[in-house]
Amino acid sequence: MKAFAYVNPATEKEAVAALKIDGIAMPLGGGQDLLARMKDYIDSPDRIVNVKGLDATVTATPDGGLKIGSAVKIVDLAENAQVAALYPAVVAAAGEVGTPQIRNQGTVAGNINQRPRCWYFRNEEFVCYKKGGSRCFAVNGENQYHAIFGNDGPSHIVHPSSLAVPFVAYGARFRVVGPNGEREVPAAEYFTMPTLQNVLKENVLDDEELLTHVILPAPGNVKHGHYEVRYKQSHDWPLAFATVVLMMSAANGTTGANGTSGNTIRSARVVLGAVAPVPWRSRPAEEALAGKPLSEATAALAGEAAVSEAKPMSGNVYKVQIAKTAVKRAVMRAAGIKTV
């Protein structure tokens, strides 16, 4: 990799200031994605700003939610009792990230902001849209791990973050700081569908900005399910996965005053991962769940609906079935029905 200068700021303010240089400065979280890209000359920053010194705590918010610092290690998220109690799908996703070594080292912000795993993007020889080129090599190339949704744009990557999917499903907001102060962005709007104008990035984060916190709202009366399908059982990104968060009509197992069952889904959020350039919210699946009893039959309907608008590429038609199964089993997990 190219030699770089190193800055180790103690505060957000110092970190933001350190990102502003003549040249390219990049923040370093766990570093496992960034250093690999630098070794392969996909990125060659002049300066690295270590942001592991930023907030690494999980704290309760006044409204009953949680605020997760960007520097929280993925292993600490996976083993956090507060997160497990309120947002079990986050814990499920965190526990499946990579390997023990990756979870020990990787940070929340690093997971969210990691770059695509597309093998054309990762290969120095392929100058694709994401590296300033004028084509996506996946279109006529090897695309078995590429997108089955959101394929109308120039790039056909799938977003690589596992944590982003439950964060979107729980309605998280991302706090971002930059030279002009701070702002909050809903997680669902943080990730951007590729256009010819924005294809170099996967999100709205500016070069001089930092993602500092994930703010999760109080979950309310919900049931949660998360299901990932992998080619290998470990050490790999999922082929497809899903988080479902189901807002229930009343407390589980009771009958409401008007005679409605507490097992009825009032509304749902269904978000799929590894299937589109962004965490992919499936409105058809959400509509299929709303107003239905929480059951295996409903889960199957949600799975069918989730892939009804899929547009797979030449080599990834098989992912449609996997995405369908992931949604179905995530709903089944929310219902407490045993899955494989």
């Binding site: 190193y6 070794k39 070594q101």
Partner: protein
């Protein structure tokens, strides 16, 4: 930093002597890093900067560029060559070290980032008299290796596993070691070694 302990004169010793002690030379070199102040925070490098590591309980003072990984610093500068550089991308686990009690891929960690932390490598496991660590002994006893190149990483990961789960279930062992790959494919024996080490150390693994 004592490759001579019980091993006689090594290939590395020869290379180091031939190189006239690059370490000592570097410390007195005039090439001071172009550290400068910006917004109150110093930027270090891109040239050599002082980096102090605590490896297997010993302090090691180096002058290296910020881009040097923990693995390369320890192998090439500190002469502790037990952990191996294989994929150099955090995909194989042969470089696994324990930093403040947790395993990391040292190929994907900058040396400059882990100053002040307790770093443990496979080199620090055996006693000075050559007695192997119980986990190393278990790998020998059950023949838990073929070519052996991945073994240092597996040994370190096994130690971290047993510190977290002194009596692991097979599922915990698989999950705890799934960040390491053996390309010869002797995973069954590796699992046997991990379980045997748990038994032999009777629930208490000696700290490496």
């Amino acid at each position: 930093m004592s490759p001579k302990d019980g091993f006689g004169f090594s290939r590395r010793d020869f290379l180091k002597t031939a190189g006239a002690g690059s370490l000592a030379t570097a410390v007195t070199a005039a090439g001071v890093a172009e550290a400068h102040a910006q917004a109150g925070v110093r930027a270090l490098g891109p040239g050599d900067v002082p980096v102090t590591l605590t490896v297997n309980g010993r302090r090691i003072d180096l002058r290296i560029e910020p881009r040097v990984t923990l693995l390369d610093a320890i192998r090439n500068r500190a002469d502790l060559t037990g952990n191996k550089r294989v994929c150099d991308r955090g995909a194989c686990g042969a470089c696994t070290m324990i930093v403040d009690g947790r395993t990391v891929y040292s190929c994907s960690t900058l040396a400059i980032e882990v100053q002040g932390k307790q770093i443990r490598t496979v080199d620090g496991l055996a006693s000075a008299n050559g007695t192997l660590h119980p986990v190393q002994q278990a790998f020998c006893d059950v023949d838990g290796l073929m070519c052996g190149f991945c073994t240092p990483g597996f040994v370190v990961s096994t130690i971290a596993l047993l510190e977290k789960h002194p009596n692991p279930t097979p599922e915990q062992a698989r999950k705890g070691l799934d960040g390491n790959i053996c390309r010869c494919g002797t995973f069954v024996r590796v699992m046997e070694a991990a379980m045997a080490a748990a038994t032999s150390s009777a629930g208490g693994v000696r700290r490496g």
